[in-house]
């Protein structure tokens, strides 16, 4: 399945997605979806027999000035096709999004990492705690507005 076919397929799911238009073609097909619809889309991508993205190989967050993005890199282990789903969370104060740990077990650690470093709350995650930092750590270090008093990076 090539990119156009995959894009048509995703549009046929009936979930509201948008595909970013950019001058430079992106490495992977990148559907963007709101944080409410992300679980439905990824669940469809995984369970639909035509797409069958059964391997979540990378999950991460990015902090932008007005929103937080959670990225899901998915791969089909049969034909090695890949896709990146971007979920936008508008609320930077109390960001929350549905967990995909029921679909991919690897999301357990990855979501804990994003929670730890970005403060994104994953609903329905079985055990959402900080993974690297202490439980009483204040702030979320990978956010751009995080102030580190020691600031080892700038030393």
């Amino acid at each position: 399945m090539n990119r156009e076919e995959l894009q048509d397929k995703i549009n046929s799911f009936g979930i509201e997605v948008s595909f970013a238009e950019s001058e430079v073609p992106t490495q992977f097909l990148t559907p963007e979806v709101s944080s409410e619809n992300v679980h439905a889309l990824i669940s469809e991508l995984k369970n639909n027999s035509d797409t069958n993205f059964d391997y979540l190989f990378c999950q991460t967050g990015i902090d932008f000035p007005d929103h937080i993005e959670v990225l899901y890199h998915l791969r089909n282990t049969q034909n090695n096709s890949e896709i990146v789903v971007k979920a936008k969370i508008e609320d930077r104060e109390n960001p929350s999004i549905a967990s995909v740990s029921d679909l991919y077990k690897t999301a357990d650690f990855h979501e804990r990492e994003i929670f730890d470093l970005f403060g994104v709350k994953f609903n329905n995650h079985p055990d959402l705690r900080r993974i690297f930092l202490d439980d009483d750590w204040e702030g979320f270090p990978l956010r751009k507005d995080y102030v580190d008093e020691v600031n080892i990076v700038e030393l």
Partner: protein
Amino acid sequence: MSVKELHKATQSQEYFVNMGPQHPSTHGVLRLLLTLDGETITKVEPHLGYIHRSIEKMCEKDSYQQIVHLTDRMDYLSCHMNNEAVCLAVEKGLELEVSDRVKVIRTIMSELTRLSSHQLWWGVMGMDLGAITSFLYGFRDREMITDIFEETCGARLTMNYNVPGGVMFDIPANFQTKVKEFITHFRKKLPEYDQLMTNNIIFRNRTEGIGILTKEDAISFGVTGPSGRASGWSNDIRKSHSYSAYDRVDFKEIIRTEGDSFARYKARIDEMWESMNIIEQLIDNVPEGSCREKTKAVIKLPKMEIYQSVETARGELGVYINSDGKKNPYRVKFRSPGFSNLNALNTMAKGGKIADLVTIMSTIDLVIPDIDR
């Protein structure tokens, strides 16, 4: 663990043992909180972060050349592949094609790194199970590779040999001779590994049928590298997303179906033979050419996103770079293999005995800086 769970647990016969953070078989500072029922493990809960250095945050302040130097502090046994991953990503962003010479040199160095990593793993795995001799055997053979690295790039560990655009220096004149000497030596010595451990009845009893991971779980947990391939999942990045010179060599992807500790052990042993095959195919055919393409002193990537993965000794290492057009990346993410592999430990160890946990941990080959980053 919540207070409720703790209360419930203290009412039963279960008890807790902290394994680590200072424990010889965790190979670094990893704390495992074990829930035990007698000697049977009911839950393994890894506690991470003892050496979390926030490398991803540091990358946001560094130039692209500097990022390369941080990556070999992650998985220090696969440092060459880690460097290569970042270099390939930056080159992809710059649309810079490196010479064939660089590709071949990188492939040879990566395979040597894989060999040395597996040798160390084999040595310490034997020691974890009580066989001291294997440690000495592993280090004896590893020394030859370390010497080659020292001559090539001046470092025995954390070699910063790759730079965006090529390699830092050309290979020394005696590089080929030394590598061939090593291959001849190691082809004789690798069967000794089998004699000492693989065919040892005690070793077989301690590994066969222990810590089984099914293929479905391996994919769901994202257990890559030899650990995932031992569960029957073909996930070799060198085959599926070929990079450097892997498309011009002929090698087998080692796949086993048992999914137990012995399969993971044997997968690595067989991988060492394959690594030697790859090196032998390339060592006499290093093409002429420049070993380093010229890049600007300050590399700026256009506004773009790049993902590049390589096969390290532990599995798939992914580098995600989000660039906003400045000289520093906006966000860098390392998808480290150890992090995902560790996630599956609970599934593998649950229901087994506490003594087998050491075996399982050895066979998924944990490197803690790779997990904590």
